[in-house]
Subunit: 309 residues, 2 copies
């Protein structure tokens, strides 16, 4: 069933990190409205089993399809890593994750590094180093996605569990972020990474630190790929190619007018963290109850046999 071009984009994440993708989308596709769902009652997904992540992802997708979105952006690396195929199989609309666009951008960056190096020496091609949550790294989603683009570049990964709380603390500069980033980046560089991928939607806020630390350790600039920006660009292409971009020319609208913010829990400090990602024009969030859905419900009734119980 084709949705109208004027329908909103649906974006979801386990929590608020996906707002970095929303921020990039507000710039990249200025004519689109966005409904964002953050599953703040069950965040984080990154430390959960694949089975649990799939169950949660189904619930989130259903909330957004019930609101009539025309395409689904999975702004969560963990869900993109383990549940994207399931969502694509179950939904009759475009589904875009953050891993494939990030992997594509990483391969382009690695090709540029390889070209630059080949001019100076016959060094081996750079490896692609991925920082992510435990779940994303364990899933091997980035190595698979890179392999589909190019077999030239090997991927090395590293789980970086301290970076999300650092971002949520707003501790984005100084000795502790530098040392924490160094703990994760140093072994990646030692394994030959010549390009780094921020494989978690929280990490773009630490991009300056990652670039600084990597440059210091490597003795030269190391390209750092931000999968949030890469995803927003892929969404823009997909809307144009699929002829489902909004026809209305962009108006001067504020974030609050273009963006609807849904969350499954509204803890204290929510607004402060949301504003870290979206700035001061962050709209008020509306709390919804995911438990009102059967917890194992599939996205469409016809798929009921896929998930008994």
């Amino acid at each position: 069933m084709a949705r109208p071009r004027g329908a909103p984009l649906g974006v979801f994440d386990s929590g608020l990190g996906g707002l970095t993708v929303v921020r990039a989308l507000l710039d990249e596709v200025p004519g689109e409205r966005i409904v964002y769902l953050g599953d703040t009652a069950r965040v984080p997904y990154g430390t959960r089993s694949a089975e649990t992540v799939i169950r949660y992802a189904r619930g989130c997708a259903r909330v957004l399809t019930d609101r009539g979105v025309k395409a689904l952006v999975v702004a969560c690396n963990t869900v993109s890593a383990v549940a994207l195929d399931m969502l694509r199989a179950e939904l009759d609309m475009p589904v875009i994750g953050v891993v494939e666009p990030g992997a594509r951008a990483a391969v382009l960056a690695a090709e540029a590094v390889a070209r630059a190096r080949s001019e100076e020496s016959d060094a081996p091609p750079p490896r692609i180093g991925v920082l992510g949550t435990q779940g994303t790294i364990a899933s091997n989603a980035y190595p698979r996605a890179v392999q589909q683009r190019s077999t030239r570049f090997e991927v090395v990964g590293r789980a970086a569990p301290l970076l999300v709380p650092l971002v949520e603390e707003g501790w984005l500069d100084g000795e502790v972020p530098e040392l924490a980033v160094q703990r994760y980046v140093e072994p990646l560089l030692a394994e030959g990474a010549g390009v780094l991928v921020l494989g978690c939607t929280h990490y773009p806020l630490l991009q300056p630190v990652v670039e600084r630390v990597a440059r210091r350790l490597a003795g030269r600039p190391v390209p750092v790929v931000d999968s949030a920006t890469a995803t927003a660009r892929s969404v823009a292409e997909l809307l144009e190619d699929g002829r489902i971009a909004a026809r209305v020319p962009p108006r001067e609208e504020s974030h609050a007018e273009r963006l609807q913010l849904l969350v499954t829990d509204l803890p204290g400090g929510f607004q402060r963290v949301a504003e870290l990602f979206l700035g001061e024009h962050t709209p008020q969030a509306e709390q919804i109850d995911l438990n009102a859905l059967p917890s194992d419900a599939s996205v469409t009734a016809s798929d009921a046999e896929l998930c008994p119980g």
Copy 2:
């Protein structure tokens, strides 16, 4: 309904941190069997709203009461802070949280500090500084519990969101743990804290760092109260006072024989983290499905009117 003395103790936490309480219990009440439930599918609770925490706590309590436990130990500061009264009202068995024992131990430590100080000068009584999750600190549970024991000591609190991932990374020593702990401890000492409380079940693993940092900053030793140990001692007293301690004399049993480990999710790396808390004799965990319960079910059928829907 009185449970047999031979029934196990039920212990639950949002995740694995409560295993520090289990570890202390295995030493303090060596004749008792323990069923532990870690709600690893929904951890952490510390950043969720009180309403959500209460709903989750009900589900956890019900799993354990269904297994016939004789008393319930809430080894989670967040649940102890916001849901203990509800659990006590709904359950016909002793319910022990971690906040009251921690507050009691803190008051005793503060009295000792005050006595020592009064011998040297007429300094004001020390304040009690609490480190905890966002939810625990926001709940004001420690100030309330201290106030009930003594009105002599003021309480100052500080949310310390980096400490849990540091513990789960096993990053328990060196510059980053020191600096992270300093970030949280320094303002507490500046506000006059003369005693510190580790108000999160993960933090005992960082106790040496907290003691070292506090001593360096204060220029003298600062007592650090570990609420896990304090809770185990309270449980031992309660079992004796209530005449519900197991009558069987302690046998030489391993952890695996005395402890049953239930979790709601079994992500990769689970065993490594469990062993950080419990050591190498950690039993195998069994995964259970909390979604098999009605998500808003109250603990007993007769309380159904308390939680519609």
